[in-house]
Each structure stands twice: as structure tokens, then as C-alpha cells.
Amino acid sequence: MSSARKLLVGGGLALALWGMAYGFYYAAFVEHQTLDRIGSSLASGFTFAAQRNLPEAHAALEASARATYVYVRQVDAHGHWIGLSMLLIVLAACFNRLGFGEKQRWYLALSLLVGAITFPLGVLFETASGGGDPKIIVIAGSALIILALLGVAVGFICGETENSREG
């Protein structure tokens, strides 16, 4: 097995495990509580409004929006880690069909793996209130994946065209 394929299979399976472990922890210990918080804050917002207490109503709606912001990103990180891990493994199986040399394949594999790790990590960092702008990590990670995928698409088209000519 070439080093590029090893990187994709090993990285993909490790990422799938990590994504599933994170999803399991999240579903068992965080999700239900978060959904309860979102729902109860939203209901409180309307209840306060019915009692004509608008400042409290807006505060409750803000709390609900904050909880939703975090929830969406936590679920996105889980979904994207697993989705990208599957993409890495399936690409590993057909990476020998790329019309590129081994070195280019290795760089493409590395770009895909780094993007697959950092993009959802950046999404998760967006929920933390620390310094820095996690959006930069998200943009860099997703750009890396898109460019690498573009390379893979071109590689497949070149490889398959060569193959059909030979065939």
C-alpha cells in the first residue's frame, strides 16, 4: 500500500473513531440537556412577553439563540468529521486511479487529511469564547479540502481518460 493510501485509510478510520466517540459522548451527556435549554429559553421568552416583561423576554430569546449557536456547531463538527473520514477512506481505495505521480498523490492525501481534521475543529472552536478568530481555521481547512478535491477530480479525469485510451 502506498504512503498516500496509508495516510488516507489510517487517518480516515482514526477520524471516524474520533467523530463517533465525540458523537457518543455528546448524545449521552450533552445533547438532551442542550435541547432542553434551547426549548425552555424559547418558551420563557414568549412567557415573559405574555407577562409584558419585554427585557426578560429578549434576554431569554438571546439565551436560546446562544445555546442554538453552540448546538448547531457541535452537531456540525460531529457530522463533518465522520463525513470527511468516509471520504478519505473511499478516496484511499481508488487513489491509484489518479493520473498523478506518487509525490503529488501524497500531497493531495496530506491536504485532505489536514483539512478534514482542522475544518470541523475550527467549527467547534467557534463555540469557545477564547481569543483569536476560529473562522480563519474553518476557512483554511475548508479551502484545503476544496482545492485538494479539485485536484482529485482532475486526477481522476486524467487517469480515466488515459485508461480509456489504453483500453
Binding site: 478510520l13 414568549f46 465522520i82 463525513g83 471520504l87 473511499v90 491509484n96 476557512i139 476544496i146 481522476f156
Partner: protein, 388 residues
Amino acid sequence: MTGQHDISPGSFSASKPDASASFARLSARRLFVIGGIGLILAGMIFGDIFAVFVLHQNAARINERLLAATQAVEAHNAAAVATAFQGIGNFLENRGTKVDAHVHMIGFGYLALLLALVQPFVFWSERAQKRLAWAFLLGAVLLPVGVFLIHYVGLAGSPFTVLGWASIFADFGGVLVLLATAGELWGLCRYWRRGEVGRIADPSSRDGMLSDRSWASRALLVGGTLLVLAGFVHGAYYAGIHLYANEAKDQSLLSAIVTTAASGRPVEVAKALNDYAQLQGDKAVNIAAHAHIIEFGILAMLMALFQPYVDLSERWRRIWAEMFLAGSAILPVCVLLEMRWGLVAGGIADAGGGLVVIALGGMLAGIVRYTGRIDAADGFDAANGTMR
């Protein structure tokens, strides 16, 4: 098939250098392939039924309850607000658990197909490989079924305050899948450790499944990659241009709803409610289009690799591949158009999903036919379930 680790890994046999070598009766690869496609088909059919009979009706009911909540705000009736939100919570749980069941069933199906691909590299005995495959498939069925039942079982008889029995079984299914996948990764690490010291050869060089170059395989591979790329570009565009704006709009519309309802301005309430429903619809169609185009792309690439197992004429393999790719493009595009064209686009999107299901069913039929052929060639005695 040898269970010893000094000659060849897993189910791969050096004496059969074609695709059938690693597809023996009840081998781990066959379990993963048939189980995986079965899970994907079941998940897609469930998703189509859910989209046609539950999704839109559910969204309408949620909007009705939200309207009831705003009317309760106008009437200073806090108790009616609570009742309306109980209803909304109930409908959201109903929708959320069904979406989760659909997504996880299909996701596990993909993972099963991926694990089928790497079976020749998983360095365990045939028996251990089969056990891992069965554990994976059991968990892959338990989790979505458990998630589906959460809405109906609730907390009945549960020893926990938040988790019901359905959630517990779903989580147990998740753990089974997790452990089975960890076992597969461990097997791969064992293969690499031994392969590097030159004791075993690279099975991919002899795996007929990975060297197929038929028209259907090439079309699915290139088409799948382009679909995944289109999905990523759409996702990046949506996240960059609309995601944050939509989140801000979501909150400002909710604030406008409660403020105008509390001040008794029904016309403005109705407009804010309408805008809010439109925004939810816009978010839902964008997320659904993004998810479906990428999933179909990955599935097309997977099915490209499984073409050697599709025992049909070249013409039929071509028809299924074309139908699969057509449906994979039609569904997400029409889902995106639902906000403009309404139910017409929704109907075409469902038809696109139907094309994918039919094409996948056709390919599965070819794979099942293939298993019958190699079992017969191997001399499997169907009458008493043994090899002759």
C-alpha cells in the same frame, strides 16, 4: 481460508486473484457489502416516506403552534404559551429523531461499505473478521431503530431522568459500532506492522475489486467526485455568505414576534411569523441539498468500486450508473428550488431520490446474483448448508 497470520491477511486468498476471492459465502466483506447497501436502501426509503408523509405536515404544525404561542402572548395568557411550546417541542422531537434515524442508517451503511473495501488489509482471522462485521451490523441497526423509538417510548420505565430505554439501546448500538470500527483499525495497524517487515504482500495488487475499469465504474467515480466537490463548494458558499446572517435574522425575527405580539400589532406579528417560517425553510433546504449531494457523491464513488460484484450485462450496469448519477443531481438541485417552485420542485426532488433508490436496488440485485454464482462455483450445498 487461513486464520493464521503468516501467509495472507484476512479473507484474501492467493489462489483466487479475482474479485470473488474475498467475497466468499458469509465472509466479512460480503456481510459488509450486502448489509451496507441494505442499510442505505432502508435509510433512503425511510427518508423518502418521511419527506412525503411527515416532514412538510410537521413543519406546518410547528408553525401553527408558533402562531398559537404569539396569540397567547397577545392575550396575556402565559399558560397557553406553555401549552403551545409543549406542542412545538413534541413536533421537533418527532422530526429530529426521524431525521437522526435516516441519517445514521445511511451513514452506517456507508461505513459498512468502506469497511468492506479495507477487509483484505484487516489482519485478523476470518472468524474474528466475521464477528466484527456482525457486531457492526447489529449496532448499525440498533442505533437508528432505537433513535426512531425515542419519540414513542419516552421515559417509560427508565431508571434515568433524561434518557429513556430507546436512547439506552440506541447508545448501546453506537458503542457496538464504535468497538467494531476500533477492531477494524487495530487489524489494519497489525497488517501495516507485519507488511512493513515484508512478511505479507499488498493484497490491493491482487484485489479485482480495486482494479475494475468498466464504463460504469469510471462514470460513477468521476461523477461522484464532482458531486462531492459541488457539495463542498455549495457548503462553503452557504456558510460564508448566509449562515451567520441567517442566525442573526433568526434571533431578530423571534424578538420582533414577541415584541409586536406583546404590543398588540397583529399585522406586524403575521409578517414576522411569515418571514420566520420562510427563513426556517431556506435553512432546511440549503442544509438538505448540501448533505444529500455529498452523500450521493460518496455513495457513487463507493459503488464505482463495487461494480465488479454487480453481475449484470454492461448495458444494465451502465443504465443503473446513469440513473444513479441523474437522481443524485436532480434531488439536491430540486430541493434547493423548493423555496421558489414549492411542491413541484419537492415532487421532482422525491422522484430524483426514487431514481437513486431504484438504481441502488438494481446494483444490489446484481451483487446478490453474483453471490449465488460464486457459491454455486465453490460447490456450496444449499440443501444442508455445507461446502461439498
